[in-house]
């Protein structure tokens, strides 16, 4: 509980993308992820942003699951 609160208050320690760059890169990130590639190396800053931004994290999960379901 307290750790979760701390993480929500302090956000990610690593450099992160903003919401707009996250949206721009989301499709590429998800495809690399689903292909088993190193998505975090392909799109640096995405993983910390998804940890710090609940709305972008929701959209990432939805796109990943939708594309996975289409395969």
């Amino acid at each position: 509980m307290t750790d979760d609160l701390l993480s929500r208050l302090l956000g990610p320690a690593d450099p992160e993308l903003g919401c707009e760059a996250c949206f721009d890169e989301l499709d590429r990130y998800v495809e690399v992820e689903l292909a088993g590639g190193d998505a975090d190396a392909a799109v640096p800053g995405m993983r910390p942003h998804l940890a710090g931004c609940p709305a972008c994290a929701e959209e990432h999960e939805s796109l990943r699951d939708l594309v996975a379901a289409q395969k």
Partner: protein, 205 residues
């Protein structure tokens, strides 16, 4: 829905682009097919969030259709920005998911006052958390953060941090109420968090 002979394989991004840039009936068929694809994505998102507050079963499909309509406009307007870094369908899906997610979050918070004042933090946290001794250090850290929020942040940074990080207000809902963009608010949140980290210095775990 009838078959669309022009894009024979959804995975063929070049075929999508060619058909959407064509004239006349070929373009019309591609747009109809694209709308169907976006509607599938919007319905997928709506189905995932159907237990959100303020959602009525009867409204859900309208919300999905509106999302697909808005996503279609966005995709067609941004067609030239598609770089081919992913499949066209993956790229297009994200617009429908975004439209649906934003509409669902707005609906969930419709008519609710947004908690932006730091009145009941972290009493809410401390009050509900077990006051276990192994959490003493964390609770001390929270007290320091609380001071830093009061002393280091601007009023705007404080409001954004309290709403998004403490009270789970979606950032796009807050942006709409504040008349700004999600990107601008996330920058505010990011700057506020950086200030807090700096104020805490060596106290960070």
């Amino acid at each position: 829905m009838t078959a669309h002979p022009d894009v024979t394989d959804d995975r063929d991004s070049e075929a999508w682009l060619a058909a959407l840039r064509a004239d006349g009936p070929e373009r019309d068929r591609a747009i109809a097919r694209l709308h169907a694809l976006l509607l599938r994505a919007a319905r997928f998102e709506v189905a995932r969030r159907r237990s959100s507050p303020n959602l009525h079963e009867a409204d859900l499909d309208d919300l999905a259709v509106q999302s697909a309509d808005d996503a279609l406009v966005a995709v067609l307007a941004k067609l030239d920005s598609f770089r081919g870094d992913s499949r066209f369908t993956t790229w297009a899906y994200k617009f429908a998911l975004l439209e649906a997610a934003v509409k669902l979050r707005r609906r969930a918070w419709h008519g609710r006052e947004l908690p932006t004042a730091p009145d009941h933090w972290p009493e809410t946290a401390a009050g509900s958390a077990a006051a276990a001794s192994d959490e003493a250090a964390s609770r001390e850290l929270l007290a320091t953060i609380r001071d830093a929020i009061a002393e280091e942040l601007t009023g705007h940074q404080r409001e954004v941090l309290v709403a998004v990080a403490l009270n789970d207000v979606p950032i796009d809902v807050l942006a709409e109420r504040m008349g700004t963009t999600r990107g601008a608010l996330y920058k505010t949140l990011h700057d506020a968090r950086r200030k807090l980290r700096r104020a805490l210095g060596g106290e960070l775990p």
